[in-house]
Amino acid sequence: MSAKELGTSAKNTWCPGCGNFAILNSVKTVLKSIQDDGTPIENVVLVSGIGCHAKIVDYINANSFYSIHGRATPVAEGIKLAGPELKVIGFAGDGDAYGEGIEHLVFAAKRNIDITMIIHNNRVYGLTTGQYTPTSPMGFMGRSTPKGTLEYPINPLELMLASGATFLARGFSHGLEQLKEIFKAAINHKGFSLVDILQVCVTFYNMYEYYDKRVYELKEHDPSNYSLALNKIREWNYHDEAPIALGVFYKKEKETFDGKFISAKKDINLDINANIDKVLADAS
């Protein structure tokens, strides 16, 4: 199936110039590429939360679960546990995954469950028309904080590293080729992977120029080294002036939660009635 065939009849309603187009196009290319590598498209399930990002599942002709705000992660986890043969890719916004549903990301990382979370981090609520999010810089003037926010942003990659994620990367909606590379590496990673994408919202927080001046590609970085990864992740805290690294910060092979579930299955007698009778006999 070609990238073109991956389209649907749904009308695209993102604003012209929206950073989501780059993500959509990269994901389509990667979905084609993983098919060429042997993963049938029907084995892929896309999950989204709610927000501008989430429309992506309407725009891709593939299995999908369009869930609710903040909850893409546990849905993706459930699908993976139910169907270990599936490649489960979750999409979420920064308000969505880093705000409303942050606990799920922490636990998914802790479990090292084999799903990929792609976070469309535009650092503003778009669909609700311009409020600050967990990654907006301190002082951000949004519609709920007209005098500027009073709190510093979180560094989501630092939080994820501390929580146990085994693949962490950052992309930028101005770097299509790099996005494709990162997505593919994240999807192919066996374990919990998260890609934080600086996805620009042209309407409510246009940061193209700001990012263009500061981003650089991670080179000669050893992603297997936790300390080096932590240092690189801390280089920019989503608030202060600093160079912004793009690429894979951390990658580690580790046993997965879903993998342990499968191995726990034994050769058992699956005559349900006989097994119920046995439970009853033991209860007398």
Binding site: A62, S67, G83, E85
Partner: protein, 550 residues
């Protein structure tokens, strides 16, 4: 009627619940029907725990105020309960720790002599009790062997010592009837779900539902279940809906507070048409309330939980056979109609132990959902006459399965087009009409007692046990609606035929069932309401009923 009521009490950590189950199984082995009520405060060590075990020739699911025996591990047990005892001599107690009438045994001394642990005091008391009611030691020995795995020989030795040192007080004759297994309601819920093909159970611990999680986690290997305990009830229900999307039969369990957290996703299950069973075991609220005590205060909550309008199946079983039958039915109905099902339990049913007769609980097997036949283009939300769209699950080479929490077209793509919205809305609601029709063949409303009586006790859930016994004693009728959504209006009207006076009996303060039937123009004449966290005893209810019918 031959029956016996025994109270065993001690501190939390004394193993009262386990000792109670062992006693219940002892009576069951004598051919009796048993019921056990377990009363404990919300703490881990200390406090006062007691189990009330009642055995009867007839099927029962309620306890009496009056008791025949007390088995006491601490002074509180004697002090708090001896006034309910028929004969002050029928107390078997630890004479090293308690001042009491009756038969004292120096438990600490015996434990020390045998090099045993304090928790094994129960074994000595079991032995003494078996002697007191005049049963053969071999019977007790058999029950102990089956129920105690740790240090069995030492426990047997202790029970034999207890048996030898006690004397017979009030004998109980063994019946020539088959012995039924004794299980908690929560275990039976688990088995009922399994009988309908349960493949996964996801839950966060919350009293009084946690034992479903414990039971299914321990039984997971034997039934090929995936049992998951995630970070929160929100995580629970969303993860479960992931299982559901993949075609795995899944259930979750919680109590009121946890269910509050689940309601946003419950609404998604309604919109996305994802099958899911939710067990809500009620406890006394609001908020943290009285966490280890019972109530029936969430009927209206589960009926209206979740934003928006969508069909749901709500059922409130009243005893273990109903728990088995309806948890099976709920899982099958969820998959057949692609709707959420809610099983409403309460502390008494969930944590109480009952003789369980699987044979009499009704036919319980797995019924298949409507599946896609791999023909043509797949539409997850195909708008059919019944409203039921054939299911397909990933990976399926010929189908992309798109589910959506937004209003959507037949393919599952988001829509805001008024021409598409109404047909899809109606498709979902139509399923309820067909479900209501199917429910006619189920016993959605039960009737007991004197079916010709003009006075009826109206009850739901675990109150049926006390109501049936009181009604039988006073010659009244009992009407127990079991299904609450879609409400079986016709069966309910049929049950009310000939009834001139309705007495509503509920474990809540606002008479929620009465509120529900008021919608149909039916108003109970009297209300007997109890909301102190404790279930009705038979004597208490009988007295209150007598007061309103005289």
């Amino acid at each position: 009627m031959r029956e016996i009521s025994v109270l065993i009490g001690g501190k939390a950590g004394d193993g009262i619940n386990q000792a109670g189950i062992l006693l219940a199984r002892l009576f069951s082995n004598m051919g009796y029907f048993v019921y056990m009520y377990f009363d404990y405060p919300s703490l881990i060590r200390g406090g006062h725990n007691f189990a009330l075990i009642r055995a009867s020739e007839k099927k029962i699911s309620a306890h009496r105020l009056r008791i025949d025996y007390i088995i006491a591990i601490n002074q509180d047990t004697v002090d708090f309960h001896k006034s309910k005892l028929r004969d002050q001599n029928n107390i078997i107690y630890d004479s090293d720790a308690i001042n009491s009438s009756g038969q004292g045994l120096p438990l600490s001394k015996i434990i020390k002599e045998e090099g045993a642990k304090p928790i094994m005091r129960n074994s000595i008391l079991m032995g003494a009790f078996a002697r007191a009611i005049g049963i053969d030691y071999e019977l007790l020995e058999g029950v102990i062997k089956k129920n105690i795995s740790k240090e069995l020989n030492l426990n047997l030795k202790l029970s034999a010592r207890g048996y030898k040192s006690a004397k017979e007080l009030l004998g109980l004759t063994a019946l020539k009837k088959k012995s039924l297994p004794v299980l908690t309601g929560n275990e039976v819920f688990g088995l009922g779900l399994i009988s309908a093909g349960l493949e996964a159970y996801v839950a966060y611990p919350m009293t009084p539902s946690s034992n479903i999680l414990h039971f299914l986690a321990s039984a997971a290997d034997n039934f090929n279940l995936k049992v998951v305990h995630p970070e929160s009830e929100i995580g629970v229900i969303l993860m479960a809906l992931g299982f559901s999307y993949k075609g795995r039969r899944v259930a979750v369990g919680t109590s009121g507070g946890g269910f509050c957290l689940m309601t946003e996703a419950l609404s998604m299950a309604g919109m996305a048409e994802l099958p899911l069973v939710i067990i809500v075991a009620q406890r006394a609220g609001p908020s943290t309330g009285i966490p280890t005590y019972t109530a029936q205060c969430d009927l209206h909550f589960v009926l209206s939980a979740g934003h928006g309008e969508f069909p749901r199946f709500v059922v409130a079983p009243g005893d273990s056979e109903e728990a088995y039958y309806w948890s099976n039915a709920a899982l099958n109905i969820s998959w057949k109609y692609q709707i959420p099902s809610i099983i409403l339990s309460d502390k008494v049913l969930s944590e109480g132990a009952f003789s369980f007769d699987r044979e009499s609980s009704g036919n319980s097997s797995r019924e298949e959902a409507v599946l896609w036949k791999n023909e043509g283009a797949y539409k997850r939300y195909l708008n059919t006459d019944s409203g039921i769209s054939p299911l397909a699950f990933a990976p399926n080479r010929g189908a992309f399965i798109k589910v959506n929490s937004y209003e959507h077209d037949e393919y599952g793509i988001t829509t805001e087009d008024p021409k598409e919205i109404m047909p899809m809305y109606e498709k979902r609601l139509r399923k309820e009409k067909y479900l209501a029709q199917e429910l006619i063949k189920y016993d959605a409303v039960k009737v007991y007692g004197n079916k010709k009586a003009e006075i009826a006790l109206l009850c739901w859930g675990s109150n049926k046990g006390a109501c049936i016994e009181v009604a039988e004693s006073l010659g009244l009728k009992v009407i127990q609606p079991v299904v609450f959504s879609p409400f079986p209006r016709e069966s309910f009207s049929d049950a009310l035929k000939g009834v001139k006076k309705i007495i509503d009996v509920e474990n809540n303060a606002t008479a929620q069932l009465a509120g529900l039937i008021a919608k149909f123009g039916i108003f109970p004449d009297e209300k007997i309401l109890k909301y102190d966290g404790r279930p009705f005893t038979i004597e208490e209810l009988e007295e209150k009923v007598k007061a309103v019918i005289s």
